[in-house]
């Protein structure tokens, strides 16, 4: 009977491992990490694989010892156990071994964390009078509320009073869209996250970007997209997905009420600034238009475009 139990332990653990391997080996299943589309995403993924490798090693080693022991040392086995109370050398060894592994992980994590979060933190750009945060190509204010994301795109230069003034008041010409994040490939995007009601969390899986929004605070974030998934077609007046048809979504990752799950947005990465500018220009014209006829012909041709109307 003891064989049965050791086999059970072996089977369950191997099944768990197998599930991971299958999920990794068959990307078509969609059971593994989603597309990665930012510099930060690639680094986080590498780190993820590093940790997975180390964990897999410890997992196999410890579970292997456990299962082997169950197989090898049942009460029915001949002989009797030896009364060992401990072994200082072993203790020191197996204190240091995991410590080394963990230090490796820490060492690998630090630069990525620094890259992801220290940039612009604490936010000097918010305090001073800089028109733009240093090295940012694009500034987007994300205002979360129950239950959607309002994104404000700066369409002209920011006011002299600084970016905080822009975030609070803004320009009349700013483009405000719900739930659509438009950037272009290679742009250094500076996001300002805030909320009007409760804590939300701006989660873009494809960018491996996640940051809570705190009531009363404006939190800066940075990212740089490395893959594009759409382009703007001026002839059709709408955003056209690439052949790969990657649909990248934005979600809320912090419970924000009954409709928490409903805070869905989309990420559109344009191939270049030109495409983005064309989209911005088009959307602005749609938004600022004072003539019905300028908008009507395309009024119901595409929701992508219509979504930009606000």
């Amino acid at each position: 009977m003891h064989r049965f139990w050791s086999l059970l332990f072996a089977a369950v653990n191997m099944a768990c491992l197998a599930l991971l391997v299958v999920a990794y080996a068959y990307p078509g299943l969609g059971w593994w990490l989603p597309d990665s589309a930012s510099t930060q995403a690639n680094e986080i993924d590498s780190l993820f694989y590093l940790i997975t490798g180390l964990c897999a090693f410890f997992f196999v080693a410890t579970q292997g010892i456990l299962i082997y022991s169950l197989w090898r040392f049942p009460s029915t086995a001949p002989g009797s156990p030896s009364p060992i109370h401990g072994h200082p050398g072993l203790e020191i060894g197996w204190t240091i071994a995991p410590l080394v592994g963990l230090l490796v992980i820490t060492a690998a994590s630090l630069p990525v964390w620094k890259e992801a979060r220290y940039q612009g933190f604490p936010p000097p750009a918010l305090e001073g009078t800089n028109p733009l945060p240093p090295e940012a190509d694009q500034v987007i204010l994300v205002t979360a509320r129950q239950w959607d994301w309002h994104l404000k795109y700066a369409t002209e230069s920011l006011p002299a009073e600084g970016i905080r003034q822009w975030a609070s008041v803004g320009n009349p010409s700013d483009l405000i869209i719900a739930n659509e994040l438009h950037v272009w490939k290679g742009a250094k995007v500076s996001l300002l996250l805030r909320t009007t009601d409760v804590i939300h969390s701006f989660f873009v899986p494809a960018l491996r970007l996640k940051q809570d929004t705190l009531p009363g605070k404006t939190i800066p974030m940075r990212f740089e997209a490395t893959v594009s998934n759409v382009r703007f077609d001026p002839a059709e007046g709408r955003v056209v997905p690439n052949e790969t048809k990657a649909s990248w979504e934005i979600a809320c990752a912090e419970l924000c009420g009954g409709n928490h799950f409903r805070m869905r947005g989309k990420l559109f990465v344009h191939p270049d600034r030109k495409s983005y500018d064309a989209w911005l220009d088009h959307s602005r014209r749609q938004t600022r238009s004072r003539s019905l006829t300028a908008m009507l012909p395309n009024a119901s041709s595409s929701n992508q475009k219509e979504g930009a109307l606000q």
């Binding site: 008041v169 869209i177 409903r262 938004t287 238009s289 004072r290 979504g307 606000q310």
Partner: protein, 443 residues
């Protein structure tokens, strides 16, 4: 045979402690969970995740109070969340008029339910018209065919149900907790519409409903659904119209019949004045399809009655003059002023709460915040000014004269600039935000 089985199981379970055989039948308890489990597994495996309402679920009959007339008062506070119904029940105390549909004779209630079910189907198979009467071509133009509606009902259940409720009553489980309360479609009234007021049509265009769904209502809890596929949005709009029509038929009949001494004839007189009815046609069964047709016709008319704004008359350099004129129109000083500020007190910062048609509390928008429920495009503002928001007592602007169009654009310019102190001319800025020392600096 069975007894032996139980016996051996008994021994296995209790070991050798208990004498065999004596309590065999009592072990039935153990079979229950097993049966429960088997049934559950079978039940679960037999159903995939099928979307949509169950087929046998009917639309619920209206039992909540009807607000016939909302009070004129402006109370200090909004109704507490979850307290809307209680608040409505008290409206009678403060000068409102409420009617209780449950007080209708039982036979009438049954008849209404039956007729509504005939004309509008169930949540799973919604339709407009019973399929026999002559709605097809109008219905098709409005995309009210049963296929679109069925698609809409699935999308509605997924996206809208928990706020707007099964019958569109705005009392879904989440809806109780949000301010302002989700729209109750059952009166067929919509706030943000762009039809021409000349025809006295209080119907939305499909595009108006679509805009609300796409962009949400900023300043309320209605999210933007712009990233849903176009077909789904269209289907949703159709289904919302379906709910609106269904609710309106029910609402109208109940509201009329609940008045003292009223009868079916009053319905015809009030709502179908052109209809020639004989004595034996004075029945609900005759009224409902006719009335339904009338409503659908109105929706259809509304589609072509968009209120087209006059061409924008100003150059960029004239903007600040236009804002100044708009400011005067908005205020109450100038001779032709509209006095918007008497409701949008302190430019909306101290707006009082007011009852709307549904008996819930709302307040005029805070225009210094730059948040516009009905949309932020200049066109939306234009429509709000020219069209008003009738259900919540915002009147349409009574601008007259030749330069009516210009004046409207002046107002639009002023309202657009209001949230941005830097863009306001100095005297306007001082009037709105106080002199320099008293500005509440936004940062």
């Amino acid at each position: 045979m069975f007894g032996t089985l139980i016996h051996s199981f008994h021994n296995w379970f209790f070991g050798r402690q208990i004498p065999a055989g004596s309590k065999g039948r009592k072990n039935q308890w153990f079979r229950e969970p097993v049966r429960f489990g088997a049934v559950l597994v079978l039940g679960l495996c037999s159903c995939a995740d099928k979307e949509g309402y169950p087929d046998d679920l009917p639309y619920p009959q209206r039992v909540d109070l009807i607000v016939e007339e909302a009070p004129k008062l402006s109370p200090n506070n909004p109704s507490p969340p979850g307290g809307l119904e209680k608040s409505i029940a008290n409206l009678g105390l403060v000068g409102g008029k409420i009617l209780d549909p449950v007080k209708l004779p039982e036979a009438t209630q049954t008849e209404i339910t039956k007729l509504l079910a005939e004309q509008f189907g169930t949540p799973a198979q919604p339709r407009v018209g019973d399929g026999k009467t002559n709605l097809p071509e109008l219905g098709k133009k409005l995309k009210l065919d049963s296929q679109t509606l069925a698609q809409g009902s699935v999308a509605y259940r997924r996206n809208c149900l928990h706020c707007h409720g099964l019958s569109g009553d705005g009392k879904g489980s989440s809806g109780l907790w949000v301010h302002p309360p989700p729209r109750d479609f059952r009166q067929g009234r919509f706030k943000f519409i762009s039809t021409n007021p000349a025809k006295n049509l209080n119907r939305p265009r499909r595009e108006d409903i679509l805009r609300t769904i796409r962009m949400g209502l900023h300043g309320t809890s209605m999210p933007a659904f712009g990233i849903l596929p176009t077909e789904e949005l269209e289907a949703l709009a159709s289904y919302v119209i379906h709910l609106g029509i269904r609710g309106e038929v029910e609402f109208t009949i109940e509201k009329t019949l609940l008045k003292p001494q009223s009868q079916v004839l009053n319905l015809f007189e009030n709502y179908l004045p052109d209809e020639e009815v004989s004595k034996d046609q004075e029945t609900l069964a005759f009224f409902v399809p006719k009335f339904l047709q009338e409503i659908v016709r109105q929706y259809h008319t509304a589609e072509s009655q968009v209120l087209v704004p006059p061409e924008y008359p100003f150059k960029d350099s004239e903007l600040s003059d236009s804002i100044r004129r708009g400011f005067r129109l908005f205020s109450s000083q100038a001779p032709d002023a509209l006095g918007c500020v008497s409701c949008h007190i302190d430019y909306g910062r101290q707006s009082p709460w007011q009852y709307d048609e549904w008996g819930s509390l709302n307040r005029p928008s805070n225009l210094t915040a730059g948040i516009y429920k009905g949309g932020r495009r200049p066109l939306d503002l234009f429509w709000r000014i020219k069209r008003g928001i009738p259900p919540s007592k915002m009147p349409a602007a009574t601008l007259t004269g030749e330069d009516e169009g210009k004046k409207t654009w002046d107002l639009v310019n002023f309202i657009e600039a209001l949230p941005f102190p830097a863009t306001l001319p100095e005297e306007v800025r001082n009037a709105v935000y106080g002199s320099t020392g008293r500005i509440a600096k936004p940062n």
